[in-house]
């Protein structure tokens, strides 16, 4: 190799190195770019006789400075960050709707009970009677607003899930395209397609914003993508499995779920996707905050409606008539499964305890248990009915239920705890489960399935039934038997006290401080109505707090890993500046060698010419 040859190889080498440096500078702000380095080596030496001569330099390859394990960690922490961020944002929205500290449901409930106290002070006052109805209407109105806001939130949630799903599919498609190009380039190229790989990594990172994923490298240079728990294949052998956002199997539920088609079979995968990314975050918040808060609030409302109604049934109104439903009683219709028979059969869930007296006209569509059938035989029987109602109230559980018919029996399942109750099918058959009465009506076929949400339904149904203040049952049981003049005992017949009596309304007002919800192991109720509300609010707060803390922790982890990535792969402009100087000098030196070689040649020529 002569001097000129060496100079030529050197200038080519350093030109290439300068190009790589320029490329690095040009991409110093490109997201996902990994810095590149020209691998310079000396050329194979020339062996001439017994001496070995150097042959100049060359650029072997342009190396991409990159570590796969860092990138994978970056992807997983990134989806964690986005997941918790979305979950927090969504949960805060729910928190704002149901669990505000001031002017929330608790405030209106408090005012309602205050109005009952006022009426109890002066039960014959028409103004006080009207005030109770006004406050009850304010409470139901406020719950109506909350219920509407939650309904809107549900629509927004469905739309968001659909939007995110579209984005996910778009990203998967572009990753698939990159995969194809990378595979082609790897098959024919000598040099790895560095910039293409960076772009694919960036697309994967962006996909991890949307959903938690796990990436598997394949031998041919392509990558497979699965959900974070590896249960849902999204891109496998470069075959795309699209996520599909579609209504749940219960058409009237109005809830968007996620499906994939595996060999023609539609599979529900929503629960597998909970966790990372925007989609995982909102699915998590929907399950653990949106559904839960609604059910817990619903239990409080069901408790309020049932306890006030049944205490109201105990009393007598201004005209001495038996108290009727103050609030509209719960009537929750089961939502049909899409594969149910079209027989028109329904299932209905109501609050109707089994009364020891055996009398309950509510079941016949009347407005009071003691309507056409009249009052129970004794005051004691009536009190036992009330006790039965309260025993049912304290069993209410914040859950949705499923009813399934296998042809002979019905099974009711609490979808949260998976507790079950079974009863034989037959006309008029029902089961009393967790404080509620589950009753099928109409014709059913084996395999019929319903989902029932009694505690979410009550929010939409919550309204005052009584419109005339005179119908408020302020009076309780007469303290004497009017027929005999003897003081009342449990064996006395039920009869109204005098018009100025306030015993029943005072007992309704006392309901505020009475523990009536959530019986503990020994059967003692553990929460007041407002306590039930508080429990729900604290649950929402706890969730928001938890996701916030997790968000911060994940962000820290992400920053740390991102720093590691930058340390390894990030472009340092100062470094490029020194490289620029270094390679420029070397290039100039190579040119100088050419010049020297030329001068040497000229000198030699001059000598020959003489």
């Amino acid at each position: 190799m002569d001097m000129l040859g060496i100079a030529a190889s050197a200038s080519a080498t350093f030109k290439k190195a300068l190009e790589v440096t320029s490329h690095n500078v040009a991409n110093s702000a490109t997201p996902g770019y990994s810095r590149q380095r020209a691998e310079i080596s000396s050329m194979n030496p020339v062996i001439a006789g017994n001496s070995v001569l150097g042959g100049g330099s060359q650029v072997n390859t342009v190396e991409r400075i990159y570590a796969d394990y860092i990138q994978k960690q970056l992807v997983s922490t990134n989806s964690g960050v986005k997941g918790y961020e979305q979950a927090t944002m969504f949960a805060k929205q729910v928190e704002g709707v149901v669990a505000s500290n001031d002017q929330g449901i608790n405030e209106f409930m408090q005012k309602y009970f205050d109005s009952l106290q006022n009426l109890s002070n002066n039960p014959t006052s028409g103004v006080n009677r009207q005030l109770v109805l006004d406050q009850a209407n304010s409470l139901t109105g406020h719950v109506g607003n909350v219920s509407q806001a939650l309904k809107d939130t549900n629509y927004q949630l469905n739309a968001q899930i659909e939007g995110v799903t579209k984005e996910i599919n778009k990203h998967l498609l572009s990753i698939k395209t990159y995969n194809e190009t990378v595979a082609k380039a790897s098959a024919q190229g000598i040099q790895p397609p560095n910039d293409l790989l960076d772009k694919r990594e960036q697309a994967v990172l962006e996909l991890s914003n949307l959903v938690g994923i796990k990436v598997f490298n394949q031998a041919d240079g392509t990558i497979d993508i699965h959900s974070a728990n590896a249960k849902v294949p999204l891109l496998s052998d470069n075959i795309l499995t699209n996520l599909r956002a579609a209504p749940s199997p219960y058409p009237d539920e109005n809830r968007t779920e996620l499906y994939i088609d595996i060999s023609g079979e539609k599979r529900l995968v929503s629960d597998y996707l909970i966790g990372g990314g925007e989609l995982g975050g909102i699915l998590d918040a929907r399950k653990n905050v949106f559904d839960r808060a609604q059910n817990e609030l619903g239990v409080t409302l069901n408790g309020l409606v049932a306890s006030n109604n049944w205490q109201h049934y105990m009393g007598y109104d201004e005209n001495g008539d038996a108290g009727t439903s103050l609030f509209t009683p719960l009537e929750s219709k089961g939502l049909r499964h899409e594969r149910n028979s079209m027989g028109g059969g329904e299932v209905m869930v109501t609050f109707n305890p089994v009364t020891p007296s055996g009398i309950n006209d509510l079941l016949n569509g009347e407005n009071t248990p003691y309507g056409t059938s009249g009052q129970p035989a004794t005051f004691g029987d009536k009190k036992a009915d009330l006790d039965a109602a309260f025993t049912s109230i304290d069993q209410l559980s914040a859950a949705n239920y499923e009813m399934y018919y296998d042809g002979t029996d019905w099974t009711v399942t609490n979808l949260t705890t998976k507790a079950e109750a079974t009863f034989a099918a037959g006309p008029g058959n029902f089961v009393q489960f967790e404080g509620l009465r589950f009753e099928p009506t109409g014709a059913h076929v084996s395999g019929d399935r319903f989902v029932i949400k009694p505690h979410q339904d009550i929010m939409a149904q919550f309204e005052t039934r009584i419109s005339d203040g005179q119908q408020l049952a302020t009076r309780g049981q007469s303290p004497i038997e009017t027929a005999t003049g003897n003081p009342v005992t449990d064996a006395s017949a039920p009869e109204p006290a005098a018009i100025g009596d306030n015993v029943n309304i005072a007992n309704m007002a006392s309901m505020e401080s009475k523990k009536i919800l959530f019986a503990n192991a020994s059967g003692e109720p553990s929460e007041t109505l407002l306590g039930g509300y508080s429990k729900m609010a604290a649950g929402v707060g706890m969730y928001v707090r938890g996701t916030e803390v997790n968000f911060e922790a994940q962000t820290q982890a992400f920053n740390y890993i991102n720093e590691r990535r930058e340390t390894l792969s990030g472009v340092s402009l100062d470094e490029e500046a020194t490289n620029l100087m270094r390679f420029q000098q070397a290039y100039q030196a190579a040119a100088q060698i050419m010049q020297t070689s030329q001068t040497l040649f000229q000198t030699l020529l001059g000598v020959v010419r003489g």
Binding site: S28, A29, R35, K92, E95, G96, A99, N101, N106, Q110, F113, D114, Q117, S120, N121, T124, S125, S478, P479, I480, G485, P487, A497, A498, I499, G500, D501, N502, V503, A506, N507, A509, S510, E512, S513, K514, T528, L530, Y533, S534, A537, G541, V544, R545, N559, E563, E566, T567, L568, S569, G570, V571, S572, L573, D574, E575, A577, T578, L580, M581
Partner: protein, 346 residues
């Protein structure tokens, strides 16, 4: 360690955004004055705030109830005291007229005065409160409690007396309105609850206030036998009036009142004093419940303040600290931006 150019940006931006987030939080706490503005600020604290607020509101409602009860009791007390004064006056007249210096004519004139005073007493016995409820009718507040005795003209009886015949209302004998002035351990009121310390009685049945064992009115059995005159203050006065007017010659020659009827009136005054004392006790109970409630509320307010409200001094100190840190981070960021080797290349 290698440092990439992007790291300057991200580090600078991260610290600025962290400080901004903290400042935002402190700003909210200082401007609302609360450190707990939503459940997630302190989930456990929220439950306590709710419980404390509820207890405090309930105490407020109980003190409102107490005020109402008190106003009703004052009305009742005034009425009874008024009646006491009248009765005292009637007794004075009676004692005066038993003196021999007065002649039957003068006694007849005195009887007319008593007749007038009896109208006043009757008004008190059938008194209504501002809501139109009869005060001395137990819970039977819409029927006039004292009516003309159908068997004994001129006398009156309570409608809870079986002798009231068609107007007989047995429910007028029992029950009374109870107003809640404190926390009830079992949150339950029974019909005619005899012992419920959380509540105070604000109505009484007439017989509890006005009935006396009036010997001058003949036998008074329990339950009343048919045709008996009811032993109440009004009827004692009627008897006195009759004796002064000489309408009961058998017992009171020359219209001089018998010692029996004067004793009955004295008993009446004593009975009324007892009622006044009972009402006084109820008012004392309302007062002391109110005081206890206020004291309780004071400690609750303090507890809620500790959980819910911002320590302003600490808030402002934190704010200043964060503000300085943010300014520092911003300055460093701009300084670091100028640090590039390219600046020195030429």
């Amino acid at each position: 360690m290698r440092v990439s150019t992007n790291m300057f940006h991200t580090t600078g931006f991260n610290s600025i955004s962290q400080h901004q987030n903290e400042i935002l939080k402190i700003q909210e706490q200082l401007s609302t004055g609360n450190k707990v503005n939503r459940p997630s600020d302190d989930p456990v604290g929220t439950t306590q705030i709710h419980a404390l607020t509820r207890t405090m509101n309930t105490i407020d409602q109980y003190s409102k109830n107490g005020e109402y009860a008190s106003s009703q009791l004052v009305l009742e007390e005034t009425a009874i005291k008024d009646m006491q004064d009248v009765l005292q006056h009637v007794r004075d007249i009676g004692i005066m007229m038993s003196n021999d210096t007065y002649n039957p004519d003068q006694r007849r004139i005195a009887s007319i005065e008593i007749g007038q005073l009896m109208q006043h007493v009757k008004g008190i016995m059938n008194m209504k409160n501002s809501d139109g409820e009869y005060l001395f009718a137990a819970n039977n507040v819409h029927d006039e409690p004292y009516i003309e005795d159908p068997n004994n003209a001129g006398y009156m009886l309570y409608i809870g007396n079986p002798n009231a015949a068609a107007d007989y209302k047995p429910e007028a004998n029992y029950g009374g309105r109870f107003v809640q002035i404190g926390f009830d351990p079992n949150n339950k009121l029974d019909p005619d609850d005899p012992l419920n310390t959380s509540r105070v009685r604000i109505t009484d049945a007439g017989p509890y206030v006005f009935d006396i064992n009036a010997t001058a009115l003949g036998p008074q059995s329990d339950p009343p036998a048919a045709g008996e005159i009811e032993g109440n203050i009004y009827n004692a006065m009627e008897m006195l009036r009759r004796q002064l007017a000489g309408l009961e010659p058998a017992d009171s020659p020359n219209g001089r009142p018998t010692s029996a009827v004067l004793e009955d009136i004295t008993t009446g005054i004593e009975t009324l004093s007892e009622s006044v004392a009972k009402i006084g006790v109820r008012q004392v109970r309302i007062e002391s419940q109110y005081d206890a409630g206020e004291t309780f509320k004071l400690s609750l307010t303090e507890r809620r303040m500790n959980i819910q409200e911002t320590d302003v001094v600490k808030g402002i100190t934190d704010f200043t600290m964060r503000q300085n840190a943010l300014q520092m981070a911003q300055q460093i960021f701009t300084k670091v931006q100028g640090m590039s080797l390219f600046n020195y290349l030429n």
